[in-house]
Point group: C2
Chain length 179, copies 2
């Protein structure tokens, strides 16, 4: 039985980013956080890049999964993809882990790590807006949600701001209209 698995290490890395900032995400810090030596850490992730990549991938997976759950919860709404995507973004915001932190760390270290996110964004935009009767407006709603999301992730907005809840309701309402 292994005491530590890779997902625990990724979680520890997210913790470090949350507590000390993306720039302070060092191998030593991650190792300390999950009670491992640096050598032990590098045994699981052969380099820092590999660890970052795993963080990004886990985060993407998580976002897709959240969206899927929202889709399942509204069986009547057919193939409307817009609302679940917006819902998912708002959930990810609350969730002080995962994608936000991974994204920050990736940008700070090596922008090329964002490639998978880029692909995901393009795909979502195509699927969620293509079916709408007003694709442009649908995209605006999506971009607005992302604007809120990134604003919070980057720390340029107060997480307690009540505007988040108001925006969430309004965006979802508009999304319903436009599908």
């Amino acid at each position: 039985m292994s005491k530590i698995d890779k997902t625990a290490i990724v979680r520890a890395a997210e913790e470090v980013v949350r507590e000390r900032g993306a720039r302070k995400l060092t191998l030593d810090a991650v190792a300390a956080k999950c009670g491992l030596s640096k050598g032990g850490l590098l045994h699981h992730f052969s380099s820092k890049q590999v660890l970052l990549k795993a963080m990004v991938e886990k985060a993407i997976e998580r976002e897709l999964q959240i969206a899927a759950e929202f889709t399942d919860d509204r069986p009547g709404a057919g193939q409307g993809e817009l609302q679940p995507r917006i819902d998912a973004l708002f959930v990810m915001m609350e969730d002080e882990k995962s994608l936000p932190r991974a994204l920050l760390a990736a940008v700070a270290e090596d922008p090329s790590l964002l490639e998978p996110i880029r692909a995901k964004e393009a795909k979502i935009r195509r699927e969620a807006c293509g079916a709408s009767k007003d694709p442009e407006l649908a995209q605006i709603l999506l971009f607005a949600a992302r604007g809120l999301f990134l604003g919070r992730v980057l720390g340029v907005m107060d997480p307690e701001d009540p505007v988040f809840e108001r925006m969430r309701k309004r965006l979802l309402a508009l999304a319903a209209e436009v599908e």
Copy 2:
């Protein structure tokens, strides 16, 4: 007469970020870029933090100025602040210098440097949306513009994507309706 002034150094720093990424923004690189030794550079900016702060401040100033110009160009529209703000954001996107780069560098180095940006964002939202007959929708438009802006700055969107131009037109049209 001094050969080099601070604004030239800040410009050089923006160049470095553009060419080599936020992570490679080192004092040596900036010094080399503006034909100065590191010692000489540190004579003007006593630390890297101080330089970053100057970058952020210059960028904010620039954005406000762009918005002000757009306001002046539409003397008939009264106090409608929303359109100039959106316009300014789109101009800043094109402009491969200034705020985008400063923002990236600041986030990578020390999130607390974003405080002035935070203040600016809050102020803009208050002013631009307060006067609208539908403040919530006005905020949505602003957030959408910022979503596009940040998406591009962070490199999760293709700068050539025609969606930028479409969004710009549509956002401005909606902004006009909502004022």
